[in-house]
Symmetry: C2
Subunit: 304 residues, 2 copies
């Protein structure tokens, strides 16, 4: 009998390769800080995601507002609380870049609601996706200024609710249509205009791994890191760039180096696995969680 029967039995998803390590069992202390971002199992309802985490021994979940709204905010909070899960982050506020005043006001109101929902879920971190260029607008500097202004406008309400705003720099492949804040350095320039207990940054390996001086920027971020999210950059890039994220370990990102840098800042929060990928979504959720746990203990957890 093999010393690692799981390694023989299990296949990684979506690669189909034989697992290199055995799947950590529920209760394994190495899983203590692992969190499932709901988008990694996009076909699961919130109920299924909560049950999946419980079964896999994952103690934390990053939730999205849409499935929470579907379940009902109070029901969702109860469901998660009854399962004993932490909510590592709420995704997502943001989309701050409209130039039209009415659209900007609507975005502000929606973000106030997102802050309230975050607090109601007992979570301290709201992830902010900056937003892209408005239709026909080629002024990226102006769009970036509007993000800074919109964040400033949310600070008082976030503080009142005890919620930290996590500005998420996005890979420049999304600069036109999703997130005009392209580097951790830029996100920090905005966050540093406010106290660190209310304005922070999200470090997502997919978005920032290529950034010149990224280790120094993570060090600069210090206590402002409100969420550490992991997934890989794979090549060739899948046809739909929105779904181009890879399972940790399947691509080009140096997880040990980035994770050590995040840990060195004193970050003690959960580590979310957030993967938008059609092949991952097509796999059974339980297999996704098993691969995710294996890759986490192989590439991330030892460096925390």
């Amino acid at each position: 009998m093999s010393a690692f029967p799981d390694a023989v039995r299990d296949r990684d998803v979506p690669s189909g390769a034989a697992a290199r390590v055995s799947t950590p069992e529920p209760g394994d202390p190495r899983l203590a800080r692992l969190s499932l971002n709901q988008r990694t199992t996009a076909n699961w309802s919130l109920r299924e995601a909560v049950d999946g985490c419980t079964a896999a021994g994952i103690g934390s979940i990053g939730v999205w507002r849409e499935p929470v709204a579907e379940a009902g905010l109070a029901t969702a909070a109860r469901m998660i609380g009854d399962a004993g899960l932490r909510v590592s982050s709420v995704c997502r506020g943001g989309f701050f870049t409209p130039s039209d005043p009415a659209a900007r006001a609507a975005a502000h109101r929606d973000n106030l609601a997102a802050i309230d929902e975050t607090a109601a879920l007992g979570c301290r971190t709201l992830v902010l996706v900056p937003g892209g260029l408005p239709e026909g607008d080629r002024g990226i500097a102006g769009a970036r200024s509007r993000v800074a202004e919109a964040v400033a406008a949310l600070v008082p309400h976030a503080r009142e609710r005890g919620v930290r705003l996590g500005i998420e720099p996005m890979h420049p492949v999304f600069a036109a249509d999703r997130g005009v804040i392209s580097t951790l350095a830029q996100a920090l320039d905005i966050a540093e205009q406010h106290p660190s207990d209310v304005a922070g940054v999200v470090v997502d390996t997919f978005h920032v791994w290529w950034e010149p001086g990224i280790l120094e920027q993570i060090d600069r971020a210090g206590e402002r890191i409100v969420s550490y999210q992991v997934c890989d950059w794979i090549t060739p890039l899948p046809a739909d760039t929105l779904l181009s994220r890879g399972m940790v370990g399947d691509g080009h990102i140096d997880f040990p180096a980035l994770t050590r840098a995040v840990a060195a800042t004193g970050y003690r929060g959960d580590v979310e696995v957030e993967i938008f990928n059609a092949d991952v979504w097509a796999a059974p959720g339980t297999d996704v969680l098993a691969t995710m746990a294996r890759r986490y203990v192989e590439f991330v957890q030892p460096y925390l």
Copy 2:
């Protein structure tokens, strides 16, 4: 009769939209600095590209080594010289990132040859594509260092041949598989280790439009800009990221702002249109050149 019969008759490629301005005729002084990068008409041989430029009144061409080799270096130089065209740049040297010593030595030799070919074509500018991460190598910082070392090793030979090395920062979407130098700031950090008459940078709007502080970096580049290349960032991004470049004016890039900044450095060289795009390649070359000339006089030339 319309005052702009061309505007009525002509259709832009690949959009199919009606042309907004009339096509500049050969001899139009606005075309004086426009250059066709051969890859924009990838299905044309060098002979066809040279003839296409002549017919359209475009006085400059950016050539690729492969089609030049196909024609024969001496024949190519004669063909271009007989047509009275300038060679605005030679694409491309580079691919400096192998970690294996034998592969690095081979890359160095190939770059020496590329410098010789550039000089033989009467051109002063060799474009350097840095190269991506070696298979299985996740150390982007190391790969970046190897680029700097490889450029330094080429400087003496380039100087001897009167060729300027143009380090091309590439959009971070290519950081893993094509170019680990991701910003103009990074490219300048490398170029500035050498005299400006031998080490410069390529400013390609597609690669750098999103860069935080890009206008300041262009100003910093000053006389080190050895090539200004234009094409657009379009969304949704085409499925093959290598072929995701758009016709000038079809996307999100602020050409007036970038062009003014380049002109303010004192750049007096040609402006190359370099578009990798399957739809552009599927269109007749003469239509591509006509659209390219119209978009150039609309979005670029007035700001030079």
